[in-house]
């Protein structure tokens, strides 16, 4: 499903020291610092797997998602998803993926959610019959019937996230990227979202790549964890591998994660 080999991406960032004089200097000649956002990343994900992609802030999680979803072109490396090279055959490829950015909305702010859904139906040119079927199913699983007629701006964060996820699945993608889907949600909404992702994966065999800082998401969902730090894959294993770090048997999930990060020096 996803095959990534030796993926590398370097950003050039202009840097200068503090102070007015340095600012003046920077106007003329800039010093660039190279930041390796992705440094020789390789992994593969079979169809139907839910993968938790974790790592501290700035580790390269978003960059990976951006490359995999075809937004960014990497500097080097091979990447094939579903038989496509994401950044080359953009239009055909993106029909088969769904992307949810937890921090940004894809719904039209001022109109009822159902209007946004219908526009997405037109954007993806989904047939009316299959659109109806998908919408009915999503409405039931995510309990949207009350929400569809409400403008997006009047929804609570949890309600909106349920709609966002539904919006990303209307065209029945084979692959779903979730970038921090539970950020800022209350306990009830988190559980609802987690339950839904499991159901979606079970019913439609959808492959899911999930980034999050909430280790409970990972515990509940991911059959596999990929830890990334400073642009490199540090660990590729299961949740049990993470548990095994706990020698006392009473560490919380977050403490466990901190210990994991510490061990790999990130």
């Amino acid at each position: 499903m996803i095959e990534v080999e030796h993926l590398t991406k370097v950003y050039r960032v202009a840097r200068r020291r503090a102070g007015f004089r340095e600012a003046l200097k920077a106007l003329g000649k800039r010093e660039y610092e190279e930041i390796r956002a992705l440094n020789d990343i390789s992994f593969s994900v079979p169809e139907g797997q839910i993968v938790g992609y974790i790592g501290p802030n700035g580790a390269g999680k978003s960059s990976t998602i951006k490359v995999l979803s075809g937004i960014l072109t990497p500097d080097s490396g091979i990447c094939r998803v579903n038989g496509y090279v994401p950044w080359k055959e953009r239009k055909r490829y993106v029909r088969e993926i769904g992307v949810v950015f937890g921090q940004r909305s894809q719904l039209w702010w001022d109109v009822p959610v159902i209007d946004s859904f219908e526009l997405l139906r037109d954007i993806y040119a989904i047939e009316e019959a299959s659109y109806r079927k998908t919408l009915d199913e999503l409405t039931e699983l995510l309990d949207l019937s009350e929400l569809l007629r409400t403008p997006a701006r009047q929804l609570s964060l949890g309600q909106r996230m349920r709609c966002e996820i539904a919006a990303a699945l209307l065209h029945r993608p084979k692959l779903l990227f979730l970038d921090e889907p539970t950020i800022g949600l209350d306990a009830v909404s988190k559980l609802a979202v987690r339950h839904f992702i499991q159901e979606e994966n079970r019913l439609h065999h959808t492959t899911v790549l999930l980034t999050t800082h909430d280790m409970q998401d990972i515990e509940a969902l991911a059959s596999r964890i990929i830890l990334i730090g400073k642009g490199k894959v540090l660990m590729d294993g299961t949740f049990d591998d993470l548990r095994a770090l706990d020698d006392t048997g009473e560490l919380s999930l977050d403490e466990l994660t901190a210990r994991l990060y510490h061990r790999y020096g990130v």
């Binding site: 937004i71 960014l72 950015f101 209007d115 526009l119 954007i123």
Partner: protein, 258 residues
């Protein structure tokens, strides 16, 4: 095209959520450009002619430019908000949708409030066409159409060019407004009156004169060659470098992510 219509409808629905604001802005827009009309009118009230152009002629010139600008603004102003689309990540969203980028950018923002200006442009055009003292015939009528069309394309190209610049720098793009809003203001008078340098610039660099000055001279009978009416279509070629620049910007964005 059908998709654009759908974008159009969703914006219309959005606008109608805020009724009062919608109508107030529309009236506001109408009054703003009505002011410009008054400006021209007061000036001619005092001087009668500017460099050999009469009031009716200048008004015709202005109403054509206004019409072209308003059309471009209605449909292509999506590019105007483009820098914010990049900074808030909306453009990433656009890249993961299976449709053309330009169409989607346009669909992000459609300005209904500009319809006030649109309405005014129509009124002014009708008024100035009937008061210009021009003896209308078919080639001249077609020239007006081609001027409006060419003008719309040139203004739209400028909006695309503006968006292309956003890939390289986010701030400091105000200078582009000289070419868009500025051109609308200067377009009140045939560009020839601003002197040779400006005319040359407007012929060879940004082809304002191709849809405004030269065909206009034909309209009012200062020049007799009907082919001048085709010049606005030549001016449309301007869209090609602008599109190329936009594409270059997109590919750079996708390789730097900023």
């Amino acid at each position: 095209m059908k998709l654009y219509l759908n974008y159009f409808l969703i914006h219309l629905k959005s606008c109608m959520q805020y009724k009062t604001s919608f109508f107030l802005t529309m009236i506001g827009q109408f009054l703003v450009s009505f002011n410009v009309f008054l400006g021209v009118w007061f000036m001619f009230d005092r001087f009668n002619t500017v460099k050999g152009f009469s009031f009716g002629e200048c008004l015709l010139c202005f109403s054509i430019v206004l019409m072209a600008f308003t059309l471009a603004e209605c449909f292509f102003r999506g590019f105007d908000a483009f820098s914010s689309m990049i900074s808030n990540g909306q453009f990433d969203r656009i890249l993961v949708r299976p449709r053309g980028l330009i169409l989607q950018v346009l669909g992000q923002r459609i300005e209904f409030t500009r319809f006030g200006r649109f309405l005014q442009a129509i009124v002014m055009l009708i008024y100035s066409v009937s008061n210009s003292g021009i003896s209308w015939d078919l080639p001249r009528a077609l020239t007006v159409v081609s001027m409006i069309f060419g003008g719309t394309v040139v203004f739209a190209s400028l909006f695309i060019l503006y968006a292309g610049f956003c890939f390289f720098t986010i701030e400091g793009l105000e200078f582009m407004n000289i070419f868009t809003d500025g051109a609308r203001e200067y377009g009140k008078y045939p560009v020839g009156i601003y002197g040779k340098g400006v005319l040359r610039f407007c012929t060879y660099v940004v082809p304002f004169a191709l849809f405004q000055y030269y065909p206009f001279l034909y309209l009012i009978g200062q020049r007799e060659e009907p082919w001048l009416g085709l010049l606005p279509l030549v001016g449309c070629v301007f869209v090609v470098p602008c599109l190329l620049f936009w594409r270059f910007g997109v590919s750079r964005y996708r390789s730097t992510g900023s």
